[in-house]
């Protein structure tokens, strides 16, 4: 039930940062928190707060950077549940589990509530005024080049304001860091297609060949791709789409594949060239490049049989268009760029460019386009920190103390900075190293605009608005904080804006015409925008201009066996936990990993044959040792992994960040080797070699599956029917 008849301006204004939060109550209750024991929180509620009637507001999910639009259900002034906004072309009314947990990010009991001045292990709560004064004091006399700002990916007006602030400081040191980012892919796509992130149309493909791209789980925009996948399965004219997944460790998408091929780690590019060779349709320099990649050689190198290579080639030929995707598995090597380039070549050879690989749309406001994060930024920052370059460091939406490999000594280098300010929701590992921690409003309490990296059908700007009055008095929105900080330097330029809300409103209204609001008055446009939650635009479209060229493509042979460290460590990305920023949301901790069904703990996946060789059974605590450290973790026998590889999920192993995160599991980020992709400088996450040894301890693995681990024991429970026996066009 959408209530759109009342005057929302007052409500929204009140909910802003400058608003009188007390105004919503009459006598006694100062905030929702105070009134929580009563059925109706406010003694004098506003007239739209009707007990038992839900109100729905649109906003944008901030749990990952896909930028799905959400509709929050609010009752008696509290947001209860998030649903997808049906109007968004990205998620069309759907959410993933991670998105659902957004309310737990908001209501988390371990949120930082006060600005904290930290000395050693202690934090002292101070006022915002003091905090701002301290920042001004610490910046006094510091040169622009001695100031750095570390953030995760940012877009929209926050990016603009952040840029303005840095400019006011005279600093160009903005490091945009994401621990898990398809940065190698972006670079490869730019070369292959002329666009960092072209539009992928899984729903138009008849065959999808994915080299480790977990598009149903955590790759780029999983909710969007899941919907495309559903259409893909129903197929065009009743012919069901076929998914082939090639990777060394089974991802969620791999589990849904019609053919899952375990490939020797790092040899994905070789396989791609082998398939081009088997297709026999390439010409020019591509043909020359694949000349030596005949089936026998490729089969030997990759472990995929010649028969399978032929089958794949035959399938790709018979059913067009197809779509070939590159995922983190291919990217995670020192030759990751080469892998990606080789795989992208397949799309050219198959003629998919222009069909299932299309021109991306972009928002016609380049200043709002996302600054995407990558791991090369971490390396660059680390080097600068090691050299002692910075006196002041700001950090927002990043947790490098958790996600940086220990070998980089990031924590030690960080200590060299004189004054560290971390803007945080929780006291995570990085916040604990800060000198000043400034508490943020949650994503459900804040204002903003967001432009996702991957735009689906058309261009859109996502609007973020508070879904309820903020929970804690002394948190602030990041935009408000930046505005206050930039006002310290440029008071005049920003004097018209009391708060970020005003800034945003003004910014959007100034471009009203370009945003589709020509001919309506300002207030109407603003309310309508907030109400919809999305601004849809006729986006600027580019051309796909990349070259189908194999010039310069050199793939190294498969890595030689290392007797000291015989196994390859593949840190896996779980759709819910990702780089660990959501580990303190208990629903996600308790949500079983789809493939292993393990909860609340980490594990190392070992192929049963390899485990038998090493004398490991399920539950054994094993020590995984690499060149740069070792961790102890419980073993889980998993058939969906190459025998030469083992896999430990990322995201757990926190030492801070609250009661639901601290002390659960281990952190494989720590033991990664400092190997980087040669072309982009990205951390090659899969290049760590390890050995595994038993410790003599054994535990019972906490998982949802029963003791027979996924067998049906002859009972007809989950059934599969061969495709040649059914006719999908008969169905609804």
């Amino acid at each position: 039930m959408m209530n759109s008849g009342f005057d929302r301006r007052d409500f929204l204004k009140v909910l802003g940062w400058g608003g009188a939060t007390v105004a919503l109550s009459g006598c006694g209750n100062g905030s929702v928190e105070d009134g929580k024991e009563t059925v109706v929180s406010y003694v004098e509620a506003k007239d739209y707060v009707i007990p038992s009637i839900s109100v729905y507001f649109n906003s944008t999910c901030a749990q990952c950077d896909a930028g799905c639009s959400i509709t929050g259900r609010i009752r008696e002034g509290r947001v209860l549940k998030l649903e997808g906004n049906p109007d968004s072309a990205i998620n069309r009314g759907k959410t993933c589990g991670l998105g659902q947990a957004g309310v737990q990010h908001h209501y988390n009991p371990d949120r930082v509530r006060e600005p904290l001045l930290r000395t050693g292990d202690k934090g002292e709560a101070i006022s915002w005024d003091k905090a701002y004064a301290l920042i001004a004091e610490k910046l006094n006399g510091v040169q622009g080049e001695e100031i750095a700002f570390l953030s995760g990916g940012v877009s929209g007006h926050l990016k603009v304001l952040l840029g303005n602030y840095l400019e006011s400081l005279g600093s160009r040191n903005h490091y945009v860091y994401e621990a898990i980012a398809p940065a190698v892919l972006r670079a490869a796509n730019q070369k292959s297609y002329g666009a960092e992130m072209p539009r992928f149309s899984i729903n138009k493909a008849k065959v999808v060949l994915s080299f480790g791209a977990d598009f149903l789980g955590s790759w780029i925009s999983p909710v969007h791709f899941s919907q495309q996948y559903a259409q893909f399965r129903k197929g065009v004219d009743g012919q069901r789409g076929v998914l082939v997944q090639v990777e060394s460790k089974m991802t969620l998408t791999g589990a849904n594949a019609d053919r899952w091929l375990p490939v020797r780690p790092g040899t994905e590019g070789i396989l791609a060239l082998g398939i081009i060779n088997a297709l026999g349709t390439a010409s020019g320099d591509i043909a020359a490049a694949v000349k030596d990649y005949d089936k026998q050689r490729v089969s030997k190198d990759t472990g995929v049989s010649a028969e399978q290579i032929d089958k794949i080639a035959a399938l790709l030929k018979a059913r067009t268009p197809s779509l070939v995707l590159v995922g983190g598995a291919a990217e995670g090597y020192a030759h990751g760029s080469q892998n990606a380039a080789a795989i992208n070549l397949l799309n050219h050879v198959l003629g998919n460019v222009g069909k299932t690989i299309g021109v991306p749309v972009s928002v016609p406001f380049p200043q709002m386009s996302p600054a995407t994060g990558n791991t090369a930024a971490l390396q660059a920052l680390n080097n600068s920190l090691a050299a002692g370059k910075y006196k002041v460091l700001f950090s927002y939406a990043a947790n490098p103390v958790f996600t940086a490999p220990t070998v980089m000594k990031f924590k030690d280098n960080l200590a060299k900075v004189g004054f560290k300010v971390v803007f945080a929701h929780y006291l995570d590992e990085t916040a604990l190293q800060a000198d000043l921690v400034l508490p943020l409003d949650s994503a459900l309490e804040d204002w903003g605009t967001q432009v996702p990296e991957y735009l689906a059908e058309g261009a859109q700007i996502n609007i973020q608005q508070p879904l309820m009055e903020k929970l804690h008095e002394n948190t602030r929105g990041m935009g408000d904080i930046l505005l206050a900080l930039v006002k310290q330097r440029r008071a005049d330029a920003y004097k018209d804006f009391d708060d970020y809300y005003a800034y945003l409103r003004n910014a959007l209204l100034q471009n009203k015409d370009a945003l589709g609001g020509s001919g309506v008055d300002d207030d109407y446009f603003w309310n309508d925008t907030l109400s919809k939650g999305i601004v849809k635009l006729a986006g600027a479209t580019g051309n796909l201009s990349g070259t189908a060229s194999a010039v310069g493509l050199t793939l190294p042979p498969p890595a030689a066996a290392d007797t000291q460290y015989p196994l390859q460590l593949i840190p896996s990305i779980n759709a819910s936990l990702r780089d660990g920023r959501h580990t303190n949301q208990p629903w996600l901790q308790e949500s079983p990993d789809p493939l292993t069904t393990i909860v609340w703990d980490s594990w190392v996946e070992i192929h049963p044959k390899k485990a038998a060789e090493l004398g490991i059974v399920e539950g054994d605590i094993v020590e995984v040792t690499g060149k740069n450290g070792s961790i102890k973790v419980q073993a889980y026998l998993f058939p969906g992994i190459h025998p030469d590889a083992i896999s430990i999920p990322l995201g757990r192993g926190h030492e801070a960040m609250g009661r639901y995160a601290k002390g659960y599991g281990v952190n494989p980020f720590q033991i990664l080797d400092a190997v980087f992709d040669k072309e982009t400088g990205e951390l090659a996450m899969h290049e760590t070699r390890v050995k595994v040894s038993t410790t003599g301890q054994r535990v019972i693995v906490i998982k949802d599956e029963g003791p027979v681990g996924g067998k049906q024991m002859g009972r007809k429970i989950a059934v599969r029917v061969p495709s040649n026996k059914i006719d999908l066009s008969k169905e609804i």
């Binding site: 019972i700 599956e705 029963g706 003791p707 027979v708 067998k711 049906q712 024991m713 002859g714 009972r715 429970i717």
Partner: protein, 453 residues
């Protein structure tokens, strides 16, 4: 061999039995104290469980039921002893039951009381146990008459009240004897009230006989139905390992079995403690032992039928479960149960052991252990290995809370029984006199002394 000497004077019978009602010696108090301590353990565990929740018993999905239900069935089973001895053998004119049926009936009553406690302890919301009763309520809600658990509730109530009635009515002449032979003290007042003015007139005896017989006739089908209903808790479900039509007779046979074994145990104890050798004679013991053996064979047969019907049946799931019982985590208990229930009773087949008191004591305890294991093996493996493999759970075992309450229930029973033995005559004096009288008539000796009863 004669079951009882024919020349025991009636006054001596009175004297011997009433002696058991004397103030107890120190050992009695020690054992009573231990029993109460055991109850204390159970109470402590229950308080903990009541306050925190059933999770402390280490129940889970799928182990929804555990030792409480198993022990509940065990105690219900134990209760069939009294009915068997009192009622069934009475109808069969088996006189040898006369010296021993009193304590057997007491055992029935107290077993039922103990079983009832387990129903309460097992519930998630004990404080609302009265929902199971058809009491007038504002929502006009009746309990669910389709549910075997509800039949249980009704059957057990009926059985308990009938057993108490049967025990009491049967005791009235004896209570009169007690009244007449006690000095003035609380006991005399107590027995005076309870004996309802019994004078032993001919009219009263006639009425008594008819009443006793009526209740006996009523009680026998009740006993059979009670345990059949308890069996229906399982048989009416389609879970593998439970959905077996032979369960009602199987359970009744098991009940009689454990009841008889318990009778042997208590027989030996009372005989020794109260020096009832004249009354609880070795020939009677022998007959009891042979009866127990016969029932053991019946039980073994029905047990075997259960396995056989699963084996040649069409339900693969039930077959899988049977194999699982024999080879999975419950295997040691399952094999122990089969051994104790089917192999150990053969000791009772051999004449030389049929009156060997130490051996019989051990054997009877082992048989009851086997029967307790049987109940557990009916309840637990089905939960751990049912229709749905994803929900199988082979690794959760009952916690100390469950064991504590089970342990305490034996203390509770012991406590009740010990108090009974000191307040009420545990041998039926008037029936023993009848027995002696009949013997003397048979041997044509006139050893019985007439006169005051």
């Amino acid at each position: 061999m004669k079951d009882i000497r024919e020349d025991i004077a009636w006054a001596k019978i009175n004297q011997d039995v009433l002696k058991s009602l004397e103030n107890p010696r120190k050992l009695f108090w020690i054992i009573l104290f231990v029993a109460i301590a055991m109850v204390g353990v159970a109470v402590g565990c229950e308080i903990y469980q009541y306050q925190v929740g059933l999770g402390v018993g280490n129940f889970d999905n799928p182990h929804m039921w555990g030792l409480y239900i198993a022990t509940f069935i065990f105690w219900i089973g134990m209760s069939h002893s009294g009915t068997l001895l009192s009622a069934i053998l009475h109808l069969m004119h088996a006189d040898w039951r006369k010296p021993i049926y009193r304590f057997a009936e007491a055992m029935t009553t107290f077993s039922l009381m103990t079983a009832g406690l387990f129903v309460a302890v097992h519930l998630g919301r004990v404080w609302q146990i009265y929902y199971a009763l058809p009491y007038p309520n504002g929502r006009q809600v009746w309990p669910n008459f389709q549910s075997p658990l509800l039949w249980d509730a009704m059957a057990i109530f009926t059985y308990l009240s009938s057993s108490i009635l049967f025990l009491y009515v049967g005791m009235i002449p004896d209570l009169a004897i007690c009244r007449d032979n006690m000095r003035d003290c609380w006991r005399k007042k107590f027995y005076t009230v309870l004996s309802l003015g019994w004078e032993g007139t001919d009219r009263q005896w006639r009425n008594f006989r008819v009443t006793y017989l009526t209740i006996a006739c009523f009680l026998i089908p009740l006993a059979v139905s009670v345990h059949s209903i308890v069996a229906s808790d399982f048989a009416m479900s389609q879970q593998p390992g439970w959905h077996i039509t032979s369960f009602p007779p199987y359970f009744v046979a098991g009940a009689l079995y454990s009841g008889c074994a318990a009778i042997i145990t208590l027989f030996i104890i009372l005989r020794y403690v109260f020096k009832f050798e004249e009354y609880m004679t070795l020939p009677i013991l022998k007959k009891t032992v042979r009866l127990t053996f016969a029932i053991a064979m019946v039980w073994t047969y029905l047990n075997f039928i259960e396995y056989a019907s699963v084996w040649y049946g069409h339900n693969q799931v039930a077959k899988d479960l049977l194999i699982q019982k024999a080879t999975g985590p419950y295997a040691p208990f399952w094999w122990a149960m089969n051994f104790l229930g089917s192999v150990v009773p053969f000791i009772m087949f051999f004449k030389r052991f049929q009156t060997n008191i130490p051996v019989l004591m051990v054997v009877s305890l082992l048989l009851n252990l086997g029967m307790w294991l049987e109940r557990w093996m009916i309840v637990a493996p089905t939960f751990s290995h049912g229709y749905y493999p994803w929900t199988w759970d082979h690794s959760q075992w009952p916690s100390f809370v469950q064991w504590g309450i089970v342990f305490g229930s034996f203390g509770w029973f012991t406590m009740l029984f010990m108090v009974f033995c000191k307040v009420f005559p545990s041998v039926s004096m008037y029936e023993v006199k009848e027995m002696v009288y009949h013997r003397s008539r048979e041997t044509k000796k006139l050893g019985a002394v007439e006169g005051a009863h």
